[in-house]
């Protein structure tokens, strides 16, 4: 498979290890990534305040990928949700599409929503295939308990996103289990991480984060596995803020899925940015078989 890698704003600025680990993993599994430098904000942060502007942002990205005739490979769940939403609207609504194209033609772009938007996890599951991943695993984990955090904007609204069953999703769990780790069932696994409110209502944002952490920890998770920069930063940086400001330590480190997978594929820990997370995850290597 070949796709345009969409990084968005947060990953290059604040979570470079998500980019490097994703590139390493996808490269190993034969997915060819094309970089489109002109990609801009996905539009997600503008949805609350200006839906038209948000759609225009998303549409420009879709148009750039279409120009190269490539599907988009998105690492962020919020970005995925936004781009899929825009994709759906643009395909459906001729007037909207024309309005957007009037603005895009100024820079020689046109959107028609005829290539696909895919999340990293979908690419691994559907395009690469779980069997291929299993075959490539050289160091499977043993005795490792992982809590998968699906992320709201990948699952819902399911009629637009088609990521997985919104009530009982299994895609992410299957991917985690392919590495030999055990994906545990936990009560709050489909809930929000709290990130959308960080900066506008920190108390509520942290309450939601704590509920998730407590639930995963209660279910016996060693790590919380994520596939979104917002969720990751919430469980990583904000978990530390919670510890500092609220005095509660949930002791549950988040790990990015490509970091988890990469180690079991035998990829170098430096390339996976294993030492770059705020909460140390290097002890996950102890679970790898020799």
């Amino acid at each position: 498979m070949k796709g345009a890698l969409f990084l968005g704003c947060t990953i290059p600025a604040r979570l470079p290890q998500y980019e490097s680990s994703s590139r390493a993993v996808l490269g190993r599994l034969g997915v060819e990534l094309v970089d489109i430098r002109e990609f801009n904000c996905c539009g997600y942060p503008l949805r609350n305040t200006d839906l038209k502007a948000a759609l225009l942002c998303a549409a420009r990205n879709l148009a750039l990928a279409e120009r190269e005739n490539l599907d988009m490979v998105v690492l962020c769940k919020c970005g995925f949700g936004m781009l899929k939403h825009a994709h759906h609207r643009i395909k459906d609504d001729t007037l909207l599409r024309e309005d957007i194209n009037r603005r895009l033609t100024k820079e020689g772009l046109e959107v028609s929503a005829d290539t696909e938007v895919k999340h990293l996890l979908s690419v691994l599951y559907h395009d690469v295939g779980v069997d291929t991943i299993r075959e490539q695993i050289t160091r499977p984990y043993g005795e490792l308990k992982i809590a998968t955090h699906y992320g709201c904007h990948a699952l819902r609204p399911s009629e637009i996103l088609h990521f997985d069953d919104p009530v009982n999703p299994t895609l992410f769990d299957t991917l985690v289990e392919a590495t030999g780790a055990e994906s545990i069932h936990w009560q709050a696994r489909l809930d929000c991480c709290g990130a959308p409110l960080l900066g506008s209502n920190d108390d509520l944002s942290m309450d939601l984060t704590e509920k998730k952490l407590a639930s995963a920890q209660q279910a016996g998770a060693d790590y919380l596995c994520v596939g979104c920069p917002y969720c990751h930063i919430q469980f990583d940086t904000v978990q530390r803020m919670i510890h500092r400001e609220r005095g509660r330590n949930h002791l549950l480190p988040p790990i990015l899925y490509p970091q988890l997978l990469g180690l079991s594929l035998g990829i170098d820990r430096e390339m996976l940015g294993l030492g770059m997370n705020q909460i140390d995850i290097t002890s996950v290597e102890k679970f790898l078989s020799a």
């Binding site: 600025a13 904000c41 609350n48 305040t49 038209k52 819902r156 959308p196 904000v238």
Partner: protein, 587 residues
């Protein structure tokens, strides 16, 4: 005399302007925490910082930055090869001309004992460097006025700078060209260097120069007899060749001379070469005097900004020095527009006509604010909106060829404007995520107060919720909502709500509170119902709108297919739109 007076007065203006500008770096207060630091302390901190940096291993970083980023302009090359070529030609040609040609008596003559402006290689190089600049100016004009990258703007300052450069170049080449053809200049040289007084005496040499050096004489025309030319060559080789190369080497001037051959005599008699000389040096002196106040000042400030930013860190460096650096950065911006072309939300400008969305333009507004020149509240509000409409992706800062820490400036200006008690509605969105992560850099009280004020501003005026015992008047209904003027078809689904409360029951925000109505105002199902009835105020006054995490649980599970989350999104959009209108009205 006139030359000296104009030279020294423009030098004086330059020096005073330069000192004034430098003094402002220590006096301007770009950030909240710089307010209390007196200028004297900032000067002392800067000196201390410079000395301790130069005497540390950081000197290696400074050398590297000097070579790669200042001399070779690595950052520009990475972004745009055309702009890099234009800039290198312009600044390379400019620097070399200043050193070799403008300061020839001071520098070139000191380095080369037999220096003369009319001899090679200097004669050729002057035109070559001039050509560099002409090509550079043409490329710059092409980029700004013909190519016109999306959202690249050109201010009068940009145009003045190009115009001045073009004036210096054109007057220079014309001057050289008319001098080559000038008979009186030739006569002057023949008298001074060959000692020839009478026209008859000069005849052989004149013939030789007319034939070979582009001189246009009033009564001598080609063809010449071989003997006459031979006699001329002898005089030439004896008296002239030692310090005058063939003017063909000055290819720019010679082209002008060739083209204007027919009118050269007239030009000479009318004193045009002298006039062009005045024009040329006056344009140069004007540039010199104007330099500290023009975009040319970046010749000095951009390298300083690059050097300072390569060794400074907001978390470690002294606040006094951060303030000084930020004031310097305002001068270091040369409005090249590279930040805007990389800006992640630049495209939004096509939807919201606020130039402050574009970082290069925001920088111009910011200069106005820091210099105390800001116009009205409306301008400040637009600056605030533009600065908040930023995802903090760091791309502007990464590509800035002057090394300006733009992201830090935006952070500073946002907090500064919050302190001036402006509400910023965009703060009620994930655009605040970065501010949340950076909250340890903001005083706790200021951090929270800004959010509380913004919440109050967006819900103010919607009093229905507070008067729960009063019957709702029908006049309060809003056609805009109930008739479905909303943006998307999806959002109109709220009409299907039959009040089953599923949305409210699955909402994680509602579940977070023991008494949610007290905190959130109306709950999701009530908002849907209010929207269905067209009672705008009930929905807009609810905290629930702003505490929605957009997790889509409500929408996914609604048995009636109401797109609850999309409706909430649209209500937020409308509430903010109305809030902004109210602010504008107040302002």
């Amino acid at each position: 005399m006139f030359y000296d007076i104009s030279l020294y007065s423009s030098l004086a203006i330059f020096a005073l302007g330069f000192l004034y500008k430098v003094s402002t770096w220590f006096a301007l207060k770009p950030s909240v925490d710089s307010k209390t630091i007196p200028p004297a302390q900032r000067v002392a901190s800067a000196l201390k910082g410079i000395i301790s940096t130069v005497a540390s291993p950081k000197i290696l970083t400074l050398i590297k930055v000097f070579l790669l980023d200042i001399v070779l302009q690595r950052k520009v090359l990475k972004e745009d090869a055309l702009r890099w070529s234009a800039h290198l030609l312009l600044y390379g040609g400019f620097m070399l001309l200043v050193l070799m040609h403008a300061l020839d008596k001071v520098i070139t003559a000191a380095l080369f004992a037999d220096y003369s402006s009319t001899i090679n290689p200097f004669m050729f190089l002057r035109d070559l460097f001039g050509l560099f600049m002409v090509v550079g100016v043409c490329l710059a004009v092409y980029r700004r006025f013909i190519l016109r990258a999306p959202r690249l703007t050109t201010t009068p300052r940009d145009s003045y700078a190009l115009l001045l450069l073009a004036l210096v170049m054109v007057s220079g080449f014309l001057l050289e060209g008319t001098k080559i053809g000038s008979y009186s200049r030739y006569q002057g040289m023949a008298r001074e260097y060959a000692g020839l007084e009478e026209e008859e005496e000069m005849k052989p040499l004149t013939a030789f120069w007319v034939a070979n050096f582009g001189t246009v004489a009033p009564d001598l025309k080609e063809p010449f007899e071989a003997e006459l030319l031979e006699a001329g060559r002898e005089i030439h080789e004896m008296s002239c060749a030692g310090c005058h190369s063939r003017p063909q080497w000055a290819f720019g001037g010679y082209s002008v001379a060739s083209v204007s051959r027919g009118i050269a005599l007239g030009l000479d008699r009318a004193g045009i070469p002298t006039l062009l000389w005045y024009l040329h040096f006056l344009a140069c002196f004007m540039g010199l005097a104007y330099l500290p106040f023009s975009k040319f000042f970046h010749i000095i400030t951009s390298p300083l900004s690059l050097l300072a930013n390569s060794v400074m860190d907001r978390r470690v460096s002294e606040p006094a020095n951060i303030a000084t650096r930020q004031a310097l950065e305002l001068d270091a911006c040369m409005h090249c527009g590279q930040c805007t072309s990389r800006c992640s939300v630049g495209i939004v400008f096509e939807q919201r006509a606020n130039v402050n969305i574009l970082p290069s333009e925001r920088m111009q507004s910011l200069k106005g604010v820091v210099w105390g020149r800001h116009g009205d509240e409306e301008e400040l509000r637009l600056l605030f909106d533009g600065a908040y409409l930023c995802t903090n992706c760091h791309r502007c800062t990464d590509v800035c060829p002057a090394g300006i820490n733009l992201e830090e400036l935006w952070f500073t200006v946002r907090e500064e404007l919050f302190q001036r008690h402006y509400p910023e509605f965009l703060a009620l969105s994930p655009l605040s995520f970065y501010r949340g992560l950076m909250r340890q850099d903001i005083a706790e009280g200021d951090y929270r107060e800004a959010l509380v004020r913004t919440r109050e501003a967006v819900t103010s005026g919607y009093e229905l919720l507070k008067a729960q015992d009063r019957p709702i008047e029908l006049a309060a209904t809003e056609r805009e909502l109930s008739t479905g003027l909303l943006f998307s078809d999806q959002a109109r689904t709220f009409r299907g709500c039959f009040g089953c409360q599923t949305c409210t029951n699955v909402c994680p925000v509602v579940a977070n509170y023991e008494n949610p109505k007290e905190i959130l105002g109306m709950l999701p199902h009530q908002i849907m119902y209010a929207a269905g009835l067209g009672i705008r105020d009930l929905a807009f006054g609810s905290g629930m709108l702003w505490d929605c995490v957009t997790c889509y649980q409500c929408q996914e599970q609604c048995p009636q297919g109401v797109k609850v989350t999309e409706v909430l999104y649209e209500l937020k959009n409308l509430a903010i739109h109305h809030g902004q209108e109210r602010q504008r009205f107040k302002g």
